[in-house]
Symmetry: C2
Subunit: 177 residues, 2 copies
Protein backbone atom coordinates (compact mmCIF):
# COMPACT_ATOMS: atom_id res chain seq x y z
CA UNK A 1 0.00 0.00 0.00
CA UNK A 2 1.37 3.39 -0.93
CA UNK A 3 0.53 6.72 0.60
CA UNK A 4 0.26 9.32 -2.13
CA UNK A 5 0.12 12.82 -0.75
CA UNK A 6 0.38 16.41 -1.83
CA UNK A 7 0.95 19.31 0.48
CA UNK A 8 0.46 22.99 -0.35
CA UNK A 9 0.74 26.32 1.40
CA UNK A 10 -2.72 27.80 1.73
CA UNK A 11 -4.56 30.92 2.81
CA UNK A 12 -7.98 31.74 4.20
CA UNK A 13 -9.84 31.16 0.91
CA UNK A 14 -8.78 27.50 0.61
CA UNK A 15 -9.49 26.85 4.28
CA UNK A 16 -13.02 28.24 3.81
CA UNK A 17 -13.56 26.08 0.70
CA UNK A 18 -12.40 22.88 2.44
CA UNK A 19 -14.55 23.53 5.51
CA UNK A 20 -17.58 24.15 3.27
CA UNK A 21 -17.20 21.23 0.87
CA UNK A 22 -15.57 18.39 2.82
CA UNK A 23 -16.90 16.27 5.65
CA UNK A 24 -15.23 17.17 8.96
CA UNK A 25 -13.93 14.11 10.83
CA UNK A 26 -11.93 15.35 13.79
CA UNK A 27 -9.30 17.71 15.11
CA UNK A 28 -5.98 16.44 16.44
CA UNK A 29 -2.99 18.01 18.14
CA UNK A 30 0.26 16.36 17.14
CA UNK A 31 3.65 16.42 18.77
CA UNK A 32 5.93 14.79 16.20
CA UNK A 33 9.44 13.78 17.16
CA UNK A 34 11.66 13.06 14.18
CA UNK A 35 14.70 10.86 14.65
CA UNK A 36 17.87 10.32 12.67
CA UNK A 37 19.69 6.98 12.68
CA UNK A 38 23.09 6.50 14.30
CA UNK A 39 24.73 5.01 11.21
CA UNK A 40 23.26 6.95 8.30
CA UNK A 41 21.35 10.12 7.53
CA UNK A 42 17.80 8.89 6.96
CA UNK A 43 17.01 11.97 4.84
CA UNK A 44 19.68 10.90 2.33
CA UNK A 45 17.77 7.73 1.55
CA UNK A 46 14.32 9.36 1.60
CA UNK A 47 13.49 7.78 4.96
CA UNK A 48 11.60 9.29 7.88
CA UNK A 49 11.32 7.89 11.41
CA UNK A 50 8.67 9.72 13.36
CA UNK A 51 7.13 9.25 16.78
CA UNK A 52 3.78 11.02 16.88
CA UNK A 53 1.93 11.73 20.11
CA UNK A 54 -1.77 12.49 19.68
CA UNK A 55 -3.60 13.30 22.91
CA UNK A 56 -1.96 10.51 24.90
CA UNK A 57 -1.78 7.98 22.08
CA UNK A 58 1.55 7.36 20.36
CA UNK A 59 2.37 6.00 16.91
CA UNK A 60 5.78 5.11 15.52
CA UNK A 61 5.97 5.52 11.76
CA UNK A 62 8.65 4.61 9.26
CA UNK A 63 8.30 6.11 5.78
CA UNK A 64 10.40 5.66 2.71
CA UNK A 65 10.05 7.67 -0.46
CA UNK A 66 9.54 5.34 -3.37
CA UNK A 67 8.97 7.54 -6.40
CA UNK A 68 10.58 10.85 -7.07
CA UNK A 69 7.86 12.93 -8.65
CA UNK A 70 5.77 16.04 -8.23
CA UNK A 71 3.76 14.22 -5.60
CA UNK A 72 5.29 12.44 -2.65
CA UNK A 73 4.79 8.70 -2.76
CA UNK A 74 5.93 6.91 0.33
CA UNK A 75 5.59 3.45 1.67
CA UNK A 76 4.76 3.61 5.32
CA UNK A 77 4.82 1.20 8.24
CA UNK A 78 2.93 2.29 11.35
CA UNK A 79 2.78 0.80 14.80
CA UNK A 80 0.82 1.99 17.80
CA UNK A 81 2.97 2.02 20.91
CA UNK A 82 1.77 1.88 24.50
CA UNK A 83 4.15 4.54 25.76
CA UNK A 84 5.62 7.31 23.63
CA UNK A 85 8.23 8.40 26.18
CA UNK A 86 9.53 4.84 26.62
CA UNK A 87 9.68 4.39 22.84
CA UNK A 88 11.69 7.60 22.46
CA UNK A 89 13.99 6.45 25.27
CA UNK A 90 14.65 3.08 23.58
CA UNK A 91 15.47 4.83 20.30
CA UNK A 92 17.84 7.25 22.06
CA UNK A 93 19.61 4.41 23.89
CA UNK A 94 20.11 2.68 20.53
CA UNK A 95 21.86 5.80 19.26
CA UNK A 96 19.01 7.51 17.41
CA UNK A 97 19.12 11.27 17.66
CA UNK A 98 16.21 13.70 17.88
CA UNK A 99 16.23 15.94 14.79
CA UNK A 100 13.28 18.08 15.77
CA UNK A 101 10.02 18.17 17.67
CA UNK A 102 7.25 19.69 15.59
CA UNK A 103 3.84 20.65 16.98
CA UNK A 104 0.76 21.17 14.89
CA UNK A 105 -3.01 21.41 15.01
CA UNK A 106 -4.69 19.32 12.30
CA UNK A 107 -8.32 19.49 11.18
CA UNK A 108 -9.14 16.31 9.26
CA UNK A 109 -11.80 16.09 6.55
CA UNK A 110 -12.76 13.56 3.93
CA UNK A 111 -13.98 13.91 0.37
CA UNK A 112 -14.66 10.54 -1.25
CA UNK A 113 -11.67 8.36 -0.36
CA UNK A 114 -9.32 11.35 -0.06
CA UNK A 115 -8.29 12.54 3.35
CA UNK A 116 -7.76 16.28 3.53
CA UNK A 117 -5.99 17.95 6.42
CA UNK A 118 -5.75 21.61 7.33
CA UNK A 119 -2.49 21.88 9.25
CA UNK A 120 -1.40 24.78 11.41
CA UNK A 121 2.26 24.00 12.03
CA UNK A 122 4.07 25.85 14.82
CA UNK A 123 6.73 28.05 13.26
CA UNK A 124 5.95 27.03 9.66
CA UNK A 125 2.44 28.29 8.90
CA UNK A 126 -0.71 26.85 7.34
CA UNK A 127 -0.84 23.96 4.92
CA UNK A 128 -3.31 21.65 3.25
CA UNK A 129 -2.46 18.01 2.80
CA UNK A 130 -4.36 15.61 0.57
CA UNK A 131 -3.67 11.94 1.12
CA UNK A 132 -4.86 8.89 -0.74
CA UNK A 133 -3.83 5.34 0.12
CA UNK A 134 -3.68 3.25 -3.00
CA UNK A 135 -1.90 0.45 -4.81
CA UNK A 136 -2.23 2.44 -8.06
CA UNK A 137 0.06 5.41 -7.73
CA UNK A 138 -0.60 7.14 -11.05
CA UNK A 139 -4.37 6.95 -10.67
CA UNK A 140 -4.15 8.35 -7.13
CA UNK A 141 -1.85 11.10 -8.31
CA UNK A 142 -4.15 12.38 -11.07
CA UNK A 143 -7.14 12.34 -8.76
CA UNK A 144 -5.30 14.38 -6.12
CA UNK A 145 -4.07 16.92 -8.68
CA UNK A 146 -7.62 17.35 -10.00
CA UNK A 147 -8.86 17.94 -6.48
CA UNK A 148 -6.19 20.61 -5.89
CA UNK A 149 -7.33 22.46 -9.02
CA UNK A 150 -10.91 22.35 -7.76
CA UNK A 151 -9.74 23.92 -4.49
CA UNK A 152 -8.06 26.72 -6.44
CA UNK A 153 -4.55 25.81 -5.35
CA UNK A 154 -1.89 26.93 -7.82
CA UNK A 155 1.12 24.79 -8.76
CA UNK A 156 3.39 27.37 -7.09
CA UNK A 157 1.79 26.68 -3.72
CA UNK A 158 2.64 22.97 -3.79
CA UNK A 159 5.31 22.17 -1.21
CA UNK A 160 7.27 19.02 -1.93
CA UNK A 161 9.48 19.11 1.14
CA UNK A 162 8.27 17.25 4.24
CA UNK A 163 7.66 19.31 7.39
CA UNK A 164 10.86 18.03 8.97
CA UNK A 165 12.89 19.37 6.05
CA UNK A 166 11.10 22.76 6.09
CA UNK A 167 11.66 22.91 9.83
CA UNK A 168 15.38 22.14 9.69
CA UNK A 169 15.87 24.67 6.88
CA UNK A 170 14.13 27.36 8.93
CA UNK A 171 15.52 26.40 12.35
CA UNK A 172 18.84 24.71 11.63
CA UNK A 173 19.95 24.70 15.26
CA UNK A 174 16.68 24.15 17.08
CA UNK A 175 15.41 21.30 19.21
CA UNK A 176 18.27 18.90 18.70
CA UNK A 177 19.44 16.68 21.50
CA UNK B 1 14.25 0.65 38.57
CA UNK B 2 16.61 -2.28 38.14
CA UNK B 3 15.74 -5.83 37.24
CA UNK B 4 17.88 -8.18 39.27
CA UNK B 5 17.66 -11.72 38.04
CA UNK B 6 19.33 -15.07 38.41
CA UNK B 7 18.92 -17.96 36.06
CA UNK B 8 19.89 -21.57 36.70
CA UNK B 9 19.70 -24.87 34.92
CA UNK B 10 17.29 -27.12 36.77
CA UNK B 11 15.93 -30.63 36.88
CA UNK B 12 12.69 -32.31 37.97
CA UNK B 13 13.31 -31.87 41.72
CA UNK B 14 13.48 -28.07 41.57
CA UNK B 15 10.47 -27.90 39.27
CA UNK B 16 8.50 -29.98 41.78
CA UNK B 17 9.59 -27.75 44.68
CA UNK B 18 8.64 -24.53 42.87
CA UNK B 19 5.24 -25.88 41.87
CA UNK B 20 4.60 -26.98 45.47
CA UNK B 21 5.77 -23.84 47.27
CA UNK B 22 5.08 -20.89 44.98
CA UNK B 23 1.82 -19.36 43.85
CA UNK B 24 1.12 -20.15 40.19
CA UNK B 25 0.21 -17.05 38.19
CA UNK B 26 0.04 -18.06 34.54
CA UNK B 27 1.63 -19.89 31.65
CA UNK B 28 2.92 -18.03 28.60
CA UNK B 29 4.36 -19.04 25.26
CA UNK B 30 7.02 -16.63 24.07
CA UNK B 31 8.48 -16.06 20.64
CA UNK B 32 11.44 -13.77 21.26
CA UNK B 33 13.17 -12.09 18.35
CA UNK B 34 16.57 -10.66 19.25
CA UNK B 35 18.00 -7.88 17.12
CA UNK B 36 21.47 -6.49 16.61
CA UNK B 37 22.07 -2.85 15.71
CA UNK B 38 23.43 -1.76 12.33
CA UNK B 39 26.29 0.30 13.76
CA UNK B 40 27.50 -1.67 16.76
CA UNK B 41 27.28 -5.11 18.31
CA UNK B 42 24.78 -4.66 21.14
CA UNK B 43 26.24 -7.65 23.00
CA UNK B 44 29.59 -5.81 23.28
CA UNK B 45 27.99 -3.08 25.36
CA UNK B 46 25.78 -5.42 27.41
CA UNK B 47 22.66 -4.35 25.52
CA UNK B 48 19.73 -6.49 24.40
CA UNK B 49 16.96 -5.47 22.00
CA UNK B 50 14.16 -8.00 22.07
CA UNK B 51 10.72 -8.16 20.48
CA UNK B 52 8.60 -10.65 22.43
CA UNK B 53 5.32 -11.98 21.11
CA UNK B 54 3.05 -13.51 23.76
CA UNK B 55 -0.20 -14.96 22.42
CA UNK B 56 -0.90 -12.07 20.07
CA UNK B 57 0.51 -9.33 22.32
CA UNK B 58 3.91 -7.86 21.54
CA UNK B 59 6.44 -6.08 23.72
CA UNK B 60 9.63 -4.34 22.66
CA UNK B 61 12.29 -4.38 25.36
CA UNK B 62 15.66 -2.70 25.63
CA UNK B 63 17.97 -3.93 28.38
CA UNK B 64 21.38 -2.78 29.38
CA UNK B 65 23.62 -4.54 31.86
CA UNK B 66 24.60 -2.13 34.60
CA UNK B 67 26.63 -4.13 37.08
CA UNK B 68 28.98 -6.95 36.30
CA UNK B 69 28.47 -9.45 39.08
CA UNK B 70 27.34 -12.95 39.85
CA UNK B 71 23.78 -11.89 39.28
CA UNK B 72 22.60 -10.06 36.20
CA UNK B 73 21.47 -6.53 36.89
CA UNK B 74 19.91 -4.79 33.96
CA UNK B 75 18.05 -1.61 33.46
CA UNK B 76 15.11 -2.26 31.20
CA UNK B 77 12.75 -0.15 29.14
CA UNK B 78 9.62 -1.87 27.90
CA UNK B 79 6.95 -0.75 25.50
CA UNK B 80 3.84 -2.60 24.37
CA UNK B 81 3.43 -2.40 20.62
CA UNK B 82 0.21 -2.82 18.68
CA UNK B 83 1.71 -4.99 15.97
CA UNK B 84 4.79 -7.18 16.42
CA UNK B 85 5.29 -7.86 12.71
CA UNK B 86 5.17 -4.15 11.82
CA UNK B 87 7.62 -3.38 14.64
CA UNK B 88 10.04 -6.03 13.37
CA UNK B 89 9.68 -4.63 9.84
CA UNK B 90 10.50 -1.07 10.99
CA UNK B 91 13.60 -2.33 12.82
CA UNK B 92 14.74 -4.29 9.75
CA UNK B 93 14.22 -1.29 7.46
CA UNK B 94 16.38 0.77 9.83
CA UNK B 95 19.18 -1.77 9.42
CA UNK B 96 18.64 -3.91 12.51
CA UNK B 97 19.39 -7.56 11.95
CA UNK B 98 17.65 -10.60 13.46
CA UNK B 99 20.16 -12.50 15.60
CA UNK B 100 17.83 -15.32 16.58
CA UNK B 101 14.24 -16.26 17.23
CA UNK B 102 13.88 -18.19 20.49
CA UNK B 103 10.72 -19.98 21.54
CA UNK B 104 9.91 -21.00 25.06
CA UNK B 105 7.12 -22.07 27.38
CA UNK B 106 7.17 -20.21 30.70
CA UNK B 107 5.27 -21.08 33.87
CA UNK B 108 5.20 -18.00 36.10
CA UNK B 109 4.96 -18.14 39.89
CA UNK B 110 5.35 -15.67 42.71
CA UNK B 111 6.83 -15.99 46.17
CA UNK B 112 6.64 -12.71 48.10
CA UNK B 113 7.78 -10.03 45.68
CA UNK B 114 9.97 -12.44 43.71
CA UNK B 115 8.79 -13.64 40.36
CA UNK B 116 9.89 -17.18 39.58
CA UNK B 117 9.70 -18.66 36.11
CA UNK B 118 10.09 -22.23 34.98
CA UNK B 119 11.30 -21.94 31.39
CA UNK B 120 11.34 -24.70 28.80
CA UNK B 121 13.46 -23.19 26.03
CA UNK B 122 13.40 -24.81 22.60
CA UNK B 123 16.85 -26.22 21.90
CA UNK B 124 18.36 -25.12 25.23
CA UNK B 125 16.54 -27.06 27.95
CA UNK B 126 14.94 -26.22 31.29
CA UNK B 127 15.76 -23.24 33.46
CA UNK B 128 14.51 -21.40 36.49
CA UNK B 129 14.62 -17.63 36.58
CA UNK B 130 14.15 -15.53 39.69
CA UNK B 131 13.49 -11.86 39.12
CA UNK B 132 13.13 -9.00 41.54
CA UNK B 133 12.54 -5.40 40.51
CA UNK B 134 14.20 -3.06 42.94
CA UNK B 135 16.05 0.20 43.42
CA UNK B 136 18.31 -1.55 45.95
CA UNK B 137 20.46 -3.95 43.98
CA UNK B 138 22.49 -5.50 46.79
CA UNK B 139 19.44 -6.20 48.94
CA UNK B 140 17.64 -7.78 45.99
CA UNK B 141 20.70 -9.86 45.20
CA UNK B 142 21.07 -11.38 48.67
CA UNK B 143 17.37 -12.20 48.84
CA UNK B 144 17.49 -13.99 45.50
CA UNK B 145 20.58 -15.98 46.46
CA UNK B 146 18.92 -17.07 49.72
CA UNK B 147 15.88 -18.21 47.76
CA UNK B 148 18.03 -20.25 45.40
CA UNK B 149 19.62 -22.05 48.36
CA UNK B 150 16.15 -22.84 49.69
CA UNK B 151 15.27 -24.36 46.34
CA UNK B 152 18.36 -26.56 46.52
CA UNK B 153 20.04 -25.00 43.51
CA UNK B 154 23.82 -25.30 43.59
CA UNK B 155 26.16 -22.50 42.52
CA UNK B 156 27.31 -24.62 39.60
CA UNK B 157 23.83 -24.59 38.13
CA UNK B 158 23.68 -20.79 37.93
CA UNK B 159 23.81 -19.64 34.32
CA UNK B 160 25.04 -16.09 33.85
CA UNK B 161 24.70 -15.95 30.09
CA UNK B 162 21.40 -14.67 28.66
CA UNK B 163 19.38 -17.05 26.49
CA UNK B 164 20.42 -15.23 23.33
CA UNK B 165 24.09 -15.87 24.13
CA UNK B 166 23.49 -19.54 24.97
CA UNK B 167 21.52 -19.87 21.77
CA UNK B 168 24.17 -18.30 19.54
CA UNK B 169 26.89 -20.41 21.14
CA UNK B 170 24.89 -23.59 20.50
CA UNK B 171 23.51 -22.64 17.08
CA UNK B 172 26.02 -20.19 15.64
CA UNK B 173 24.50 -20.23 12.15
CA UNK B 174 20.82 -20.58 12.93
CA UNK B 175 17.88 -18.27 12.34
CA UNK B 176 19.74 -15.26 11.09
CA UNK B 177 18.26 -13.12 8.39
Amino acid sequence: MFEVEVKARIGEETRRLVRARCRFLREERHVDIYFDAPHRRLADSGEVLRLRQIDGRAVLTYKKKRVNADVRVREEIEVHVGNGDATAEILKRLGFRVLAEIRKRREIFELGDCQISLDDVEGLGEFLEVELKSENVSDAKSRILALLRELGISDDAVEKRPYIQLYLEKFPNADRS
